[in-house]
Symmetry: C2
Subunit: 453 residues, 2 copies
């Protein structure tokens, strides 16, 4: 029997089991659902046990982490599969066509909260392992699972859990399926994520808000100063001018640029979606190169002085800006936050006091395109979807991916099994049945190809 | 009998009458006090009648305007005296040492709401006229009074009243006593006020707030753009770079610069008061020259994007700034608002939509230092205070002063009779008895000297 045949024969049961999983309203942000998140953790552990692994439910300060380990396979690589069993709230409920926690299938589409993000994708792997066990009687790799229950609230306890279980969780490769294919029928491997350095900047000038008539022209205006400081962050070519900002940036090589140029991407669609009339950015790079592979520095918020209707002739005592940089390999978020702070202090006009508070830091992550795990993932996707996968990077940050790399030494392989239009975090979240069943196949083939890598 | 003798003999009555005026709680912003503002208007009209003028109380949509006219004096100049009978609220009441509307005298200081701003100063002129009538039996000029009841709420009906009564109110000189001497015993003439052009600027980029991971590096960031636009308003020398901004600026000549250099002004005290460590501004001018006589362009407020605690990785769809320019003669507020808007549009980065809303406009005002009314005022002050007056300009804007100049053709002569430390608008407002009595003398001598000018 082949994996394909197994999946075809078990089709109805695979759907039924996923539906049972989807019926558990494991909303991690809602304390009233704590029993449900616990129930979802137990459900995952039981499913992993049935698939032939040894599962454990680890309590944390909030929602449990489920781990599982397969039979030891000497000489084979170790693969860790990561996912999460918690889901977003279903609000606004009245925009759903049915009960968010009573899955339905219509026109080949499963509709339920968590169908794509991430219960459906987690279950692809659980059932992929089950299929391999049934078809081959054994697993080809040393397999581990790590399925958390706090992803939708920022994974607050996961880094500490990784540190504490560093040896038990150590792996060569970590497989993450918590994303999407770039288009229907187009298998996609995400091989890079940006990091993040996010700071709040406070500028102070006068001892109190001053009357602009009595003091204008004679005192530092913090809001003019803040604008000058922000304007000084970029040159006329859209390049960041913070000294040393690009020092550690891994440049795009010709191969990767060629790869990115081939990615299915429509600038017109991007403009329509974002509602923008221009796509400005760093000179010398295409739009997609900038979105995926070049570091950015954006103002996320500003405030200061009079913000109401009408006029108030005040020179404010304080101003505030939120600034964040999306980082690429091999930039270090601590280093960039420090360089940003140093630059802001250096350019602050006379009489302006600057204080910088670091709000969030996240490392970028990347797996080299030509590495064995990448080639293995490409092979598995090609086998199941019968076409070459697209290699994509993302401008977003998933700090936990860098944590896997940093703490566990595992190369991340991000294989999104859903679609961009799955309405995750929105009403009527969905997962195509073909994506689910092919996801099971991808999981099984991926473990096989990783064993050969 | 001399004016001096008259004032000395009438001292107690002059104080008693002022106290009666101060007892009327004519708080213009409080509708519950509308009967009191009406009572204060009637009080002023009656006092002007007793002084020998013909007074009229004109209703407006809110508080009445009191006008009065003296006997016709052929060949003599026409002088209009402006002031206001309304007062600020007394809040916070519990910081007053007594009842704000029950005046007291202690150590030669009258304490009551309105004592200095502006009932006390209005009454100096009423009693100055009375003294002249008593001593000389006639007035030396064609005299008019205009005492309004809405100054503390922005004089909303005054410009229309001036327009409607343009001929009746026409004057060669308008005397305004609604300010302060720069120091105790230092008579002061304010000969220039700044104007104002205040706009709100709204910048729009994306169609909605965007995720900085998914869109950063590929879309216009309105807040970065707004900062660049604001930063572009000044050069490295603190000069405003808006094209044409300085075109109509009346330059300081050597005489005036010498005059300003002699004005009693302590930069150390200014820094302490404002709580600033530096006094930056336009290169080539002293601090006081900038405060008094150079136009400025200040940000009064900014807002956009995420302004809360912590971090939110958003690229905002909109941003807002409030900008205002303090204008000097002969800048025109409409013209400057237009030039500012044109500049903002010109420097807006690609993909940024700019909308500008004019919030407030006010003309600057100035009376030449070497003009006859100025010399007359200086002479009167010298006579009463026995020292040379200080000539001061102000960075503040009193739009009605420019209206007198523009609508009535009257040269403003601003003679503040109070002191900077009179606590106007604050608890325990005061007016020194010597300022009151010398104010009566100044009023009488000023009318005499204006007759000779």
């Amino acid at each position: 029997m082949t994996v394909d045949q197994y999946v075809n024969e078990a089709r109805e049961r695979l759907l039924e089991e996923l539906f049972d999983f989807l019926r558990i309203p494991s909303v991690s942000t809602d304390p009233a659902r704590n029993d449900d998140t616990r129930r979802a953790a137990d459900f995952v552990a039981a499913a992993l046990e049935r698939a032939g692994l040894e599962a454990t439910v680890h309590p944390t300060a909030k929602h449990p982490v489920v781990t599982a380990v397969g039979p030891r396979v000497p000489g084979a690589p170790t693969v860790l599969i990561y996912g999460h069993y918690d889901v977003q709230p279903a609000d606004p409920i009245d925009l759903w066509t049915g009960d968010p926690f009573e899955p339905t299938i219509e026109d080949g589409v499963i509709v339920a909260r968590g169908a794509s993000d991430d219960k459906g994708q987690v279950y692809c792997h659980v059932k992929g392992v089950e299929a391999l066990m049934a078809v081959d009687g054994a697993l080809p790799v040393n397999l581990k699972f790590l399925i958390e229950g706090e992803e939708e609230i920022g994974s607050p306890h996961l880094p500490a859990f990784l540190e504490a279980n560093r040896e038990d969780l150590a792996a060569d490769v970590v497989v993450i399926s918590d994303g999407a294919m770039v288009a229907h029928g187009t298998p996609t491997i995400t091989y890079g994520l940006k990091g993040l350095a996010y700071v709040s900047v406070r500028v102070s000038g006068a001892g109190r808000d001053l009357h602009s008539g009595a003091y204008g022209g004679g005192v530092p205006n913090v809001l003019n100063a803040l604008a000058e400081m922000i304007a000084s962050l970029h040159d006329g070519q859209g390049r960041v001018t913070v000294p040393g900002f690009y020092d550690d940036v891994l440049d795009l090589d010709d191969d990767e640029r060629a790869q990115i140029a081939k990615a299915p991407f429509s600038e017109a669609e991007f403009r329509r979606d974002a509602g923008v009339r221009a796509t400005p950015g760093e000179a010398g790079y295409t739009l997609l190169e900038r979105l995926w592979a070049r570091p950015t520095l954006d103002v996320n918020g500003v405030s200061g002085g009079f913000q109401g209707a009408g006029s108030k002739t005040v020179i404010a005592a304080h101003g505030m800006a939120k600034l964040s940089s999306r980082l690429v390999p091999n930039q270090d978020p601590h280093d960039i936050a420090e360089k940003l702070e140093a630059h802001l202090r250096a350019v602050a006009p006379a009489g302006i006091e600057v204080s910088v508070h670091v709000e969030a830091l996240g490392h970028p992550a990347m797996t080299p395109l030509d590495s064995p795990p990448m080639r293995a993932a490409a092979e598995a996707l090609r086998m199941v979807w019968e076409r070459d996968p697209v290699f994509a990077r993302s401008g977003g940050s998933i700090p936990v991916v860098a944590d896997f790399q940093r703490i566990l030494g595992a190369d991340p392989v991000m294989v999104g099994l859903g679609l961009e239009n799955d309405r995750i975090h929105s009403p009527n979240e969905k997962f195509d049945v073909v994506n689910y069943l092919n996801g099971v196949r991808v999981s099984a083939e991926l473990l096989r190809s990783l064993a050969r890598a």
